[in-house]
Symmetry: C2
Subunit: 423 residues, 2 copies
């Protein structure tokens, strides 16, 4: 008799937490991911803005799981799930049978039905997204240095960030500091201090998940750094000239998208009910209705687990769900088949606003400014995996803090044959 | 009257050295490069083998030149030179006039007229080359982990390095340690210790520029690590199945090319005489015959400056030539128009063989083994630019030395739409 086989799709925060919770259980585990690395997404914007190197926030999955002989790591792209025969189907035709399945495949950015905007306004979910954003930002400045036409020059020096959530706020803060501080004195024909950085939010305020006073503080802090913050301002078009926001066109060569997400196609694979963003509507125990052996967790799932609301799309929520599901499987194999509802425990929201300021909303306690920035930094270093990357990220941050120079200002992977505009 | 305008094409070791030598001269300088970064090529093989991160061996050119207000950095691709009108022509139609021109555009790998081999056997000259090689090596292992056909499995676990110069030797040593040491225990279905690493050299010995006893030592040291070293073995074909070497086909999914180089098209731009490898045949003072205002330096040039031979294609040679040319221009502007022949001073050859061994040939003194490896490491850290990267590289090396785990095992930039075989 072979051991109960748990297949986990996606080695993000949720998938890894499930693997950890299954330690010691009488199972064998197959971890399937389309990439070979786990990514620390909360710091991805820093790769996109030349603060950190890619390898500082990414770890090979099979390296992370090396000391678990019962875990196999498999690089592959899932194309479907046969829930009747209990098989995961891969794009290359391979079939992976399971006894229990955990789907933790996350989200991609989404464009409210305007997928054609993506080529003009890239989002930030993968290492490739981050190096692409870095390339766009730096290339735009290089082109500005050589541009004589004042109108084109203005567009090349205009950076528009769409979406006022934590990612948008952190990107805007990091870019405005890049052009107003770190790059000063490196160009001869342009003054990067004349660049414009715009943060555009359709709702009434930025950081909507935070308390109103923290949101207002972040708004003022961004403005102090030089960001033009526009709220109640919906983007209705993205094209090769720029964006249309609040009905007005804004000429910009760099548009970054931090406005919306859409779940991976897990609901389609599973034939399960989903909400408008594609999230699988799971039961309270995070199983798919009718399939107690299939769990969906993290950003891919939705269920009211937090005072009548779904959990937020942040790393701690995915981790808690992974842990819950791992423990559920362990209990079932021990003979306890009672299903237990998942309850989300919110420990807080946090976001940086530039290099020396942050906002933290613990609910019972709100912190902002310089102290919050230290708490933010220490918390992120703490949650990184392994001493190696903690040291490397700490060194990178210390260096920028002391010298003001970012070490990863590299333009790479320029596709000279690419005929699409402005890549 | 505007200052004498020096245009430098290429911010490699030669171009940067020329810029430094021109400090204080009554000139303005335009540095043109098709990339935004200077690259420390001697450690590029470590990016290709997941030891170092890209940003640890690359610096933005305009960052390096930030404190020189008379230097403009320009990102652009040169398409030609009008030596009559003294203009550098860029691919996008821009024209950059010069008074003095320094061409330092280096080499690319070359395939003895078989350019069609490049898709099967990538070389190592740019950061993109290095991440592509890293991707191929790691992807091959990932595919092996999922392969059931024994023949395909063997090909996926065979790594062929063509060319026994320092780059080939260093690649072979780094790859064999990756599969025999660093990755051990991370795979479940394959034993990476069963992988084969072959170093194939057409000549009678590896490291031909070194003294025969050092070459023989490196040969034995590689064999001790597990590399199959084949000398007097010419590669006559590279294709999707592998290579044909010494008349015999070797099935291999990963073929890395370190066998030949060809100069950038500078000779074509300048209408200047060139040798078979495309190197411009310059005069003893490194000027182009008939054009005393045009200098060609580094790997792009050839002239007998070293006991009747051309200088070797290594960083110190390019640096010395850049310095010579910078000083020549400075002297001319001071009224001393006497041309001075360049004399190359060779300080030595060095190459690592795996993690704890190296060979160093100073001519007057030969060092090999563990002590040579320390000298090699300290020398390379010394020649890196800036404290930041010295610390980062030292941390990376120390970490691997102590823990045996490489931090940059990332597969990135996979092109899922690419229909070419095995990328």
């Amino acid at each position: 008799m072979t051991a109960h086989h748990v297949v986990i799709v996606g080695a993000g925060f949720g998938g890894l937490a499930a693997t950890q919770a299954l330690a010691g259980a009488p199972v064998r585990i197959t971890m399937i991911d389309q990439r070979n690395h786990h990514l620390f997404q909360p710091l991805l914007y820093q790769v996109g803005t030349a603060v950190l190197a890619t390898s500082e926030i990414a770890w090979p999955i099979r390296f992370l799981l090396r000391s678990r002989p019962e875990v196999s790591t498999l690089l592959g792209i899932v194309s479907g799930v046969d829930t009747q025969k209990r098989n995961v189907l891969l794009e290359d035709g391979a079939v992976v049978p399971y006894d229990s399945l955990i789907v933790a495949t996350g989200v991609r950015h989404a464009y409210f039905g305007h997928d054609e905007w993506e080529r003009y306004a890239p989002g930030l979910k993968t290492l490739e997204d981050a190096t692409a954003i870095r390339r766009r930002v730096l290339l735009s400045l290089e082109r500005a240095e050589r541009e004589s036409d004042p109108q084109r020059l203005a567009a090349l020096l205009t950076f528009v960030i769409v979406g006022g959530g934590p990612t948008g706020v952190e990107l805007a803060g990091a870019i405005v500091e890049l052009v107003y501080q770190n790059l000063v004195g490196q160009f001869r024909h342009i003054d990067t201090k004349k660049a414009r950085v715009l943060l555009i939010e359709a709702g009434p305020g930025i950081l909507p998940s935070f308390a109103p006073d923290l949101s207002a503080y972040a708004h003022r802090a961004l403005q102090r750094l030089g960001v033009e913050v526009h709220v109640n301002c919906a983007v209705t078009d993205c094209n090769s000239d720029g964006v249309v926001a609040g009905g007005r066109p804004i000429a910009a060569d760099v548009i970054l998208w931090a406005a919306g997400v859409r779940a991976s196609p897990a609901a389609v694979w599973l034939g399960a009910p989903a909400d408008k963003a594609g999230r699988v509507q799971v039961a309270a125990d995070l199983t798919v209705p009718g399939h107690p052996e299939v769990f969906v967790i993290g950003d891919t799932a939705t269920v009211n687990v937090w005072n009548g609301k779904p959990a937020p799309g942040i790393a701690p929520a995915a981790k808690q769900q992974g842990q819950h599901v791992g423990r559920s499987i362990k209990r079932r194999l021990a003979g306890d088949s009672q299903s237990r509802a998942f309850r989300y425990r919110h420990s807080g929201d946090l976001a940086t606003v530039g290099k020396r300021s942050a906002v933290i909303d613990f609910g019972w306690c709100k912190v902002k400014g310089y102290i919050a920035w230290w708490v933010w930094g220490l918390a992120h270093i703490y949650f990184l995996i392994g001493l190696r990357n903690r040291l490397a990220v700490a060194l990178s941050w210390l260096w920028i803090y002391l010298t003001g120079s970012r070490s990863a200002c590299l333009i790479t992977q320029v596709d000279h044959n690419n005929k699409t505009p402005r890549v």
